[in-house]
């Protein structure tokens, strides 16, 4: 069983990635990443 762990793990995370894309998380990530994060730079 341990032998197939990498395969199961890879499939599981591809599915999770697909879920994230399907649920519309990519534009959310992009919107946050294109604006200056004041918390990150120690302002807000």
């Amino acid at each position: 069983m341990k032998r197939y762990l990498p395969l199961f793990t890879t499939i599981a995370f591809i599915a999770l990635l697909a879920l994230g894309i399907w649920s519309g998380e990519v534009p959310v990530v992009w919107n946050k990443a294109i604006t200056v994060c004041l918390s990150c730079i120690g302002i807000g």
């Binding site: 341990k2 032998r3 197939y4 762990l5 990498p6 395969l7 793990t9 890879t10 599981a12 995370f13 591809i14 599915a15 999770l16 990635l17 697909a18 879920l19 994230g20 894309i21 649920s23 519309g24 998380e25 990519v26 534009p27 959310v28 990530v29 992009w30 946050k32 990443a33 294109i34 604006t35 200056v36 994060c37 918390s39 990150c40 730079i41 120690g42 302002i43 807000g44």
Partner: protein, 302 residues
Amino acid sequence: MERLRRRSQYIFALLANAYWLFPWRSPIYQGPLKKLCFPGLNCHSCPAATTSCPLGALQNLLATLRPSLQMGQLHIGAYVLGSLGLIGSVAGRMPCGWICPFGLLQKWLFLLPVPKLSFWRPLGRGPYLFLIVFVVLLPLLVVDPLGYGSVWFCKYVCPAGTLEAGIPLLCLDQGLRRAAGWLFAYKFILLILLLIWCTLTSRPFCRAICPLGAIYGLFNRVSWLQLRFHPDRCVQCEACLTVCPTDVSFYNGLDDLNSAACIRCLRCLSVCPSNAVSLEFGPVREDIGKEDVEQFYPKANC
């Protein structure tokens, strides 16, 4: 191998920070590449950053989880966790040793000729603490009346944000300089202390703080890429331990070669004079356990 790794670190550091138009155009890159999560720690508010930071993105998604669920959107961080998990399931913690720009910085700082301190091993639990508390629990649970949380790790801990984004943006923008207060001062002091620690100890941020390394580390034992130790070939010269940036002591059975602490820099593989370490890609094989190593080298020798 070491030359290849060095080149990889430089190339990825440049690719992650390839937007050099920021003094003339917008203060940060706003193109489509920012939809991708960079596999290493690289603040997406850095003026030159071309991709998003996975830790920042994950915290943002968790901090806005309640409002998004109320609006019927399932934004649980699946995209970020899926990206990280996919990389981790293939290579384990290899991005820490081959890609991460902050890892490269730590390597440079440790080369400075100052007295060196050994790493206090109990601090090795730190990354899990920062991951669970600062990246997951606090953004999820500490929310304002509208249900919005904050990016706790970025705000109160992350030195990459201060170094790559805070300092350059404050230099470029007078308005931000005026707005900087106690929080920036606190983060700046934290950064200086960490940089000093990096000159004294090998990779202290990776080993004691980094939540991204903690995530990748979980995959070290189940990734396609596996390191394999052959104790029958080992001559106990300790060359692997001498070069290991995270002090993984596998030759005497103290640690597992594929333990979460290993950043897969592969220096042990390069320096071993008897080829006692090999790199394999494929289904996980039953590895040599500690008991097997102790059969070859009794505890008295460890």
